[in-house]
């Protein structure tokens, strides 16, 4: 029960980055990642500069480096994939420490690693400085279909409730001496999953009743309106704009 506030990805602080309106941050991160992805992979220095830019943002937001680095672990499966690339890619090969590696594959691995890592780091910073609630408001402001935002907010609201139900079911199973050890026990687990679905669906129906009882007619009433001033937009877009400069240099040089 004692779950902390919001999610652990969010770091509460009062920094200039935290204070920016959510939709400006979302737009900035998206633009930044697009710029990064469009950078030629041979401009290695450009990626270094991007990393420096992100480090500046992290510093502004008072997010410690160790926090970002730990969250980067989410990337591991694809790092493994990237490591494979030099071995399997085609084309001209070079010998490194007695291993025959594909030049193209090495570039490919670098490309995936550099861009993927920068993308993850940018998203981690976004999540670390923006509360869930705000993210949803930001998505709404960025003209995502309202229905989609509603679905997302219900998912966030009930994610905890349902996972909690799942945990209680597991405790109930274990209290009766059941422990899933192998494929033989899948049937029992799947029954739990089925029961969880039924509970989720029925809860959805009850939530709908509760909403209708309070005058819901298919569209959410607007309760909070987030707005951003020109100055805030400028600050938020400083990151992708400087990245864009780097990217253009990367193409020119």
């Amino acid at each position: 029960m004692g779950a902390g506030h919001a999610h652990r990805l969010y770091r509460h602080a009062h920094s200039p980055v935290h204070a920016l309106p959510p939709h400006t941050k979302l737009a900035a991160v998206l633009a930044f990642v697009v710029v990064v992805v469009s950078t030629p992979r041979t401009a290695m220095w450009a990626f270094g500069l991007y990393a420096v830019l992100l480090a500046c943002v992290a510093h502004q937001a008072r997010v410690p480096a160790s926090f970002v680095l730990r969250r980067l672990l989410i990337e591991v499966p694809f790092v493994a994939f990237a490591v494979l690339l030099p071995f399997v890619a085609q084309g001209e090969r070079v010998d490194v420490l007695g291993l025959s590696l594909s030049v193209n594959g090495l570039w490919g691995a670098w490309n995936v690693l550099a861009k993927g890592t920068l993308g993850v780091a940018a998203s981690v910073l976004l999540a670390a400085t923006t509360e869930l609630r705000e993210l949803l408001l930001g998505l709404q402001r960025l003209r995502l279909p309202p229905l989609l935002v509603q679905i997302a907010s219900f998912m966030i609201r009930y994610g905890d409730v349902i996972t909690d139900e799942m945990r209680r079911m597991r405790i109930a199973r274990e209290s009766r001496g059941f422990e899933a050890r192998g494929v033989r026990h899948w049937g029992v687990l799947a029954k739990s999953a089925g029961a969880l679905f039924i509970r989720s669906y029925e809860r959805g129906e009850r939530v709908h009743l509760a909403m209708v009882s309070r005058g819901y007619d298919g569209s959410m009433p607007v309760i909070d309106e987030v707005t951003a001033s020109r100055a805030q937009w400028t600050r938020a877009l400083a990151l992708p704009s400087s990245a864009l400069v780097v990217c253009l240099l990367g193409w020119v040089l």
Binding site: V88, L148, I156, K191, I198, R203
Partner: protein, 345 residues
């Protein structure tokens, strides 16, 4: 299988982004048709369910475990449109909140994991339910095959995307072998879990299984001591009815193409498959969700784990599964042929 930034080049990402946006627009409308103004709460809760169930560990053997991807399950339980919507929302939130899957790769991820998986699963499922004898067991069997095929189908889609917009020149055959081989294995797990789960739901609340709506008994009225069919109160899902044949043919074609694809590579390059299954032990990750507090908090890196199955075994199972699926479809066709006249109304 969440694709990160930089894996697929910018133009392809943009195009898949458009595809994903289009698919979302269509499924938003479709979901509204399926659920009317209940869409938001119901789809939201189903998305939360998928999110939660992805954390349910299914132990494979000592120490390793896998989990559900959920696309096929969503399609069968709540219908293709709502299914696409729910899985997409889960992916969107994973991308934004957990940096799981790149933001520029959202289009790729949605196309691949929300659209292809769900649609293939639903088409195959619907097709099989139509041709198999009516009953719960058929629904479970259909769910198995649908989930089994949906995962390698996503792998095929990914391979195609990679062929078009991959940022590294890897022989496309190798990518295909790797992706499909591994995903046939993952598909087996997915299939078993999906089928069992659908079976569990259908045993208790058959009315909640969208894909099996046609199986409900007609209501009876007692008129002058005789039982009479009640006028159909709930309209039979129209789309499913009119496009039954189209659905069925597409499903068959998809299965055959898939089966062909997998067996081709499996037989032409068994070493490759073996190697990949081995290498992709990297895909494996043991994890611990256990009793941690918030699901959002202990969201970790996860993927299916299967390091234990050696390459050779993998190849055998892969081919075997494909053959089984293929013959299942074949058998189904035969059945349909023979059963057609009696079923025609």
């Amino acid at each position: 299988m969440h694709v990160p930034d930089g894996f697929i080049d910018a133009p392809t990402s943009a195009v898949t982004g458009l595809v994903a946006a289009g698919a979302l627009a269509v499924s938003l409308r479709g979901a509204r048709r399926e659920l009317d103004e209940r869409t938001a709460p119901l789809a939201g809760l189903v998305a939360a369910f998928i999110f939660a169930v992805q954390m349910l560990n299914f132990p494979v053997a000592a120490g390793t475990s896998g989990h559900l991807l959920g696309g096929a399950l969503a399609a069968i339980l709540v219908g293709p449109c709502t299914g696409v919507l729910c899985v997409s929302v889960v992916l969107l939130m994973q991308g934004i909140l957990f940096a799981d899957g790149g933001l520029t790769a959202l289009g790729v991820n949605i196309t691949d994991m929300a659209l292809v998986t769900t649609v293939v699963a639903y088409v195959v499922f619907r097709g099989l339910v139509k041709v198999l004898p009516r009953g719960r067991r058929s629904v479970t069997a259909a769910a198995f095959v649908a989930a089994l095929l949906s995962v390698p189908a996503a792998a095929v889609a990914f391979t195609l995307l990679y062929a078009v917009g991959g940022t590294t020149d890897v022989a496309i055959g190798k990518v295909a072998t790797a992706m499909i081989g591994v995903h046939v294995l993952i598909g087996l797990g997915e299939a078993a879990i999906t089928a069992l789960t659908v079976g569990a739901v259908i045993a208790v609340r058959p009315d909640l299984v969208y894909g099996a709506r046609g199986l409900r008994q007609r209501l009876k009225l007692r008129v002058n001591g005789e039982l009479v069919d009640a006028p159909a109160s709930a309209p039979v899902p129209v789309a499913a009815r009119t496009s039954r044949r189209a659905l069925w043919i597409t499903g068959l074609a998809a299965s055959v193409v898939l089966a062909g694809f997998v067996s081709f590579y499996a037989s032409a390059d068994p070493d490759g498959l073996e190697k990949v299954a081995h290498d992709h032990g990297i895909d494996a990750k043991a994890e611990e969700h256990a009793a941690a507090g918030s699901p959002l908090a202990d969201y970790g890196v996860r993927d299916v784990s299967d390091a234990r199955l050696s390459g050779g075994l993998a190849g055998v199972i892969g081919v075997g599964a494909t053959v089984a699926a293929g013959s299942g479809v074949f058998w189904a066709v035969r059945r349909r042929r023979t059963g057609a006249p009696s079923e025609a109304r």
